[in-house]
Amino acid sequence: MRGEDKLPVLSPATAPPQDAPSESRIKAPYRARRILSVHMQHFAMERWQRTLTRQGDAPPEDVPQALATEGPHGRIIYATNRAAEAAGVHINARAVDMRALCPDLKLAYADIGGDTRALEALALWARRWCPWTATDGLSSSGAGLIMDTTGSAHLWGGEAALLREIEERLSHLGLSSTLAIAPTHGAAWALARFGAVRETCSADALEQRMSNMPTRALRLTADTLLLLKRLGLKSVGDLAAVPRLSLARRFQKAELPANPLLRLDQMMGDLAEPISPPEDPPRFIVDARLPEPVQDPTPHIPDLCAALSEKLAGPGFGARRLRLTVYRSDGQISHVEAATSTPSRNASHLARLFEGKLERIDPGFGFDLITLAAHHAEHLTVSQPDLDRRKGTGDALGQLIDRLSARFGPGHLRSPALRESHIPERREIWAPAMGGLPRQPFGSADARPIRLLDPPEEVRVIYAVPEGPPAQFVWRRITHKVARFSGPERIAPEWWADNPGTRLRDYYNIENQFFHRIWLYREGILDDHRGPDPRWCVHGVFA
């Protein structure tokens, strides 16, 4: 039984590496596959640089830059660029120590969640080369991918050509990588990190090649590595030469990442370690093939939406983003997109999102293929109506938000939320309603206007006394005479957010001769040495 081979305690001591290859192949049943390991040592830093470059804010190469994470005693370096590395900044050190070493080191926070998502997406992208791909760890020492290329390397012209192709494609994405192919996961992992450039290793040469690998190549925890170092075991060959029984006894209770014997078995193919690739995300795409080119896609939209919603309903998904693509007869492609604020598979709702957008498609001489894809879909459970047959709340509101955002753009439909600040214009945050409505805000007891002018409008004033309210002012070419006033209410700048030279504001609530109640302020006081004479601005109107 193979299961018995897996139990390290029962199996006999591993033979020394100079055993005959034929015998070792019988003893190592899990060596028949070809596993490719990709190691991207600078994944976090390169992804960060690429993101900034895309935003047109590319960081200079020669400035030492590091990404940090929060540790128990302050920030810890997570990734460095070449300049920082050359300056002696090393990973997993404390940021303050590295600042002392390299005073012009620039620090930013590492986005580990984003890295994880990017690595998962990369693993799916790598399915172009073989069907079984998975992520293989993400840490401060780099990110990894693992692929099972058994039977697929010849499609790319052999293993050497495949490795070159993968390395080149990754470099187009801005990622530097080291790769290797070996019969087992453990061996490929070790060769990608500690082997030669684009190394491949055959099953026969495995033990020979692995024997002079360092023990770090065994994917062990730091504690175990330290222990092995103290025991004087520096290479894989040293470990393999130790009688198996004693190792098994010593690490009887250790878990897999801390157990050198199990890791050794995995590397040598004595213990199975299959790759478990995540399933492909479902793809929702429908198409309409037309017998002859047409100019207007409008009549086909309802049918496409109905087909798409049927497709979404099966696995229980709802569309968040839709893309309608037309393939023109002259080979050009154009597309329009629509988005929803909550997942939806309501066909008529989806169809209405394209209203008024189809004019943006340039039909040329007509097109004969239309595809509608939900390229971002989320789980959508079936909601049951209440006992009194009312519909579940929020559905219709979500559809309204979608429709208005689709028509006027998501930036035009916004929802304000209150936050803690004394500066009136910072009291509110405006966020697009597509991101969800904020909680019902609590009002304030302060006297604040119900309309705010954004930005405040400067007015010319005539003082009675320089420190008091104006006697009259000219706003929008009309002279306003102050009939009644209250104030001033002094609002100081927020020193933690404002520039040092920002002036305080004195707000007055005045009523003019038309009985309008206006909120205006003087920016600064007369001799505060923070600029010229203070400005007066109208900031709001009371009800």
Partner: protein
């Protein structure tokens, strides 16, 4: 020789008309027909009496969001809604569009959504799109879905409209402040209901208390003669 006027007949007729039309002191508290279209004309564009009046009509504990549509001219001239100025603000969905046609379209979409507490739209000027047909559509849609609709008009003439109540609003001298005689107090508005279905038009002085969210209509007509409420472009 011209025919001499007959003062007795004219005057009696005028008195009768006044009695019927109720242009004198109104008798009862006016009610906005809530789940339908109400139109509010604001006499001066910078005056916040219009939005204040609409806000005063929203229920205090509104657990549904309010769709507030502004065209860009209204927003530039009269500012944007400010939540901190309300004692109990509702959730707002603010839409800014450029044309009056878009305001009407968005309003119609909003009125079809029963999850909304109200739909408020601000239109600047005499847009030809805001005609009798358009307002009739809005009124019928608001009644069908029981969503209150408010149309705030600035710098506009009260042309033909199907709104169920039509108001004209301006600011009145504020109530005396409790502790400071020179300070402005609680808001007061000069309210004129000039067209309404099923109730008598009239003029009132409305006073609004922010803390308790109560509006009071003072039946005492303003002491001065009703001022000609001038329409003035900003």
């Amino acid at each position: 020789m011209s025919c001499p006027p007959r003062p007795s007949v004219t005057e009696t007729l005028r008195a009768k008309l006044q009695q019927i039309e109720g242009s004198g002191p109104a008798k009862q508290r006016p009610e906005a027909h809530l789940p339908t279209l109400n139109e509010v004309f604001v006499t001066m564009p910078t005056d916040a009496a219009g939005p204040g009046f609409v806000m005063a009509h929203l229920p205090q504990d509104l657990d549904k969001p309010v769709l507030w549509i502004q065209d860009s001219m209204s927003q530039r001239e009269s500012g944007r809604p400010y939540l901190a100025g309300l004692a109990k603000p509702p959730q707002l969905l603010c839409l800014t569009v450029t044309r009056a046609v878009d305001v009407l379209w968005a309003m119609e979409q909003g009125l079809g959504c029963t999850d909304l507490g109200a739909v408020v739209a601000e239109v600047w000027g005499d847009a030809p799109a805001v005609d009798f047909t358009a307002t009739k559509r809005l009124a019928l849609r608001a009644e069908a879905h029981a969503v209150p609709a408010w149309l705030l008009r600035r710098a506009a003439a009260p042309n033909l409209s199907a709104a169920r109540t039509r108001w004209r609003l301006g600011s009145a001298p504020s109530a005396p402040a409790p502790f400071n005689p020179r300070a402005p107090g609680a808001a007061r508005w000069e309210v004129e209901l000039f067209r309404a279905r099923g109730q008598t038009p009239g003029r009132w002085i409305a006073s609004y208390d922010r803390a308790s969210h109560q509006m009071q209509f003072d039946t005492a007509a303003p002491a001065k003669q009703p001022t000609p409420l001038a329409h003035r472009m900003g």
